[in-house]
Amino acid sequence: MKQNRLWAWLIVALSAIYFFIPLLATFIFSLRMRRGELSFDAYASVFSDPRFFASFGYSLAIGAFTIILGILVVVPAVYYVRLRMPWLRPFMEFVTLLPLVIPALVLVYGYIRLYNSSSLIPFTGSVLGTDILLVCACMTLALPYMYRAVDTGMRTIDIATLTEAAQILGASQWTIISRIVFPNILVAVLSGAFLTLAIVIGEFTIASLLNRPAFGPYLVNIGTNRAYEPSALAIISLLVTWGAMGMIQLLTRFAPKTARKD
């Protein structure tokens, strides 16, 4: 028994070392901008660059719209498929997996071909149109994660009976989705939302080919031209991701409880 525990701890320690040493090395390297001493100069350099805030802010905004679009598309879709068309689930599983097997490059070339300025729907003909296209593309990229998060959330509650209970009390479909379904899968939706945000913040291919000033192209650009700033940016990106994960944990506390406390 004691030996088993020792092995468990050893495996945990080795995994932690494997995970943290590269991070630590990146962090230390990011502090070495000033010759001979450790400093936050690389971070100061990053934060003094207006393009950092512009690209990060842009990606955050795209992320927010992607999340909203994702929720508006995925939540009702999963709800109706679970409730009325359960035979469609294998098809949904397949479709939502497609973004994982179709490279983003193929996706964006398809978009550009379909929605270029001389097409019937000339999304790329304007800045707003291109931004909309980017949001749609990001939503597609995040679809496997958002779909699975929402689907898992709905599996934990008896969605059919809750819907009927609300219906018989006079609730409309909108009331049911907004007041019953959504609050009960909020944590799952937020998990999907933060995963979506992480994907959008790091997205390079589509934003670059659509020529949008997103954080991904900025990171690549800095990475090819600077030495210490990319490490600082990597650490900042990690902190943002961890912050997002922390938010999920925090929000879980406010989630509706469906099980008995024992």
């Binding site: 009960n184 509706p256 469906t258």
Partner: protein, 353 residues
């Protein structure tokens, strides 16, 4: 004369090729407590769900107070429903759960709060407004579900096996509470159950269902004492089914094995030699010689059940059980012993197959 409240006409429901409700006609009066009783898959829940509006009938119609509601959406039927799985909204506390229907209907806050208070008092859960469903027992959750269903003052209450998930003691107390509340409010209630004891104990009338059809509609006493079919006789209570053949229609006699007895119930219209089913309640028979009819049989077993002794005897091809009250000097018949089972001819019921 009782006022008709709900009428179901030639109701049929098919799921693909599987017809689960096969042309059911029913009429319920205002304020009645009706139980739809039957085994799993007999169509009782499907009928309830069609009344609620969750299932659209394949054909037929449902009328409430003379108005055809067959195609009406569930949220416009003004019906309360309690589900087997409680179906409380997990994200809402007791107060919000009970107030949900009132909120949806746009009831002013103060009025809604007073109504919630009244409903929680009715089900004996005052003071638990802030609790969440996960903090309550099954019985408490089901009482919240009942309060929630009654809060918007529905014109009819539907109960879909609401006691099935609860333990035996709670089931008995909650069914009594449901019946008391129903009586006080005078609300027409349809209760779906597969438990005959539950149906017999709380209903004004029982609809016994079998394979998508109604076998019998009657008061608990009628259903128990005068089962119309072999299915009702076997499903409700523990009636003995005895296979017999008509001996002489003119003399109203039947043959059980090689013994001929006279029936009190008329067997007019049946030919000699025709097979018929008879039912006999276990408590109707005795060894003491009481009653005007007797059947001789061989004892298969005798079991001591505390207050009663249950004896099983073979009469022809039939195994018949009968109960006698326990007494200190009672001698249990031994297996293999030949005995006479005495009963009144009036206790032998002729049932349809």
């Amino acid at each position: 004369m009782a006022e008709e409240f709900l009428r179901i006409e030639k109701l049929v429901k098919a799921f693909g090729a599987n017809q689960v409700v096969k042309g059911v006609d029913l009429a319920f009066n205002r304020g009645e407590f009706i139980s739809l009783l039957g085994p799993s898959g007999c169509g009782k829940t499907t009928i309830l769900r069609m009344i609620a509006g969750f299932e659209r009938p394949t054909s037929g119609a449902i009328f409430v107070e003379g108005r055809d509601i067959t195609a009406l959406a569930p949220n416009r039927r003004n019906v309360g429903m309690v589900f087997q799985a409680y179906a409380l909204f997990p994200n809402m506390n007791v107060f919000d759960n009970v107030a949900f229907g009132l909120k949806v209907a746009g009831t002013p806050k103060a009025e809604s709060a007073a109504r919630v208070d009244e409903m929680l008092k009715l089900v004996g859960l005052s003071g638990l407004e802030k609790r969440f469903p996960f903090e309550m027992s099954g019985g408490q959750q089901q009482r919240v579900a009942l309060a929630r269903a009654l809060a918007p003052s529905p014109r009819m209450l539907l109960l879909d096996e609401p006691l099935s998930a609860l333990d035996a003691k709670i089931r008995v107390s909650l069914r009594e509470q449901i019946r008391e509340i129903q009586r006080n409010l005078g609300i027409t209630t349809i209760f779906v159950t597969h438990d005959q004891e539950e149906a017999l104990s709380i209903s004004d009338r029982i609809v016994v269902m079998n394979a998508g059809r109604t076998d019998q509609v009657g008061t608990p006493s009628e259903i128990y004492n005068r089962p119309a079919t072999r299915f009702v006789a076997s499903f409700v209570g523990t009636l003995n089914m005895i296979d017999a053949v008509v001996a002489d229609p003119a003399a109203n006699t039947v043959r059980v094995g090689d013994q001929v007895i006279v029936l009190r119930e008329a067997i007019a219209g049946r030919r000699g030699g025709e097979k018929i089913s008879l039912a006999l309640r276990p408590e109707a028979g005795s060894l003491a010689g009481a009653g005007d009819t007797a059947l001789r049989g061989e004892v298969i077993s005798s079991s001591f059940l505390g207050s009663v002794v249950r004896t099983k005897i073979a009469i022809g091809e039939n195994a018949v059980s009968f109960d006698t009250f326990n007494a200190p000097d009672l001698r249990l018949p031994a297996p293999g012993e030949i005995i006479d089972l005495h009963f009144s001819a009036g206790d032998l019921l002729l049932v349809r197959d």
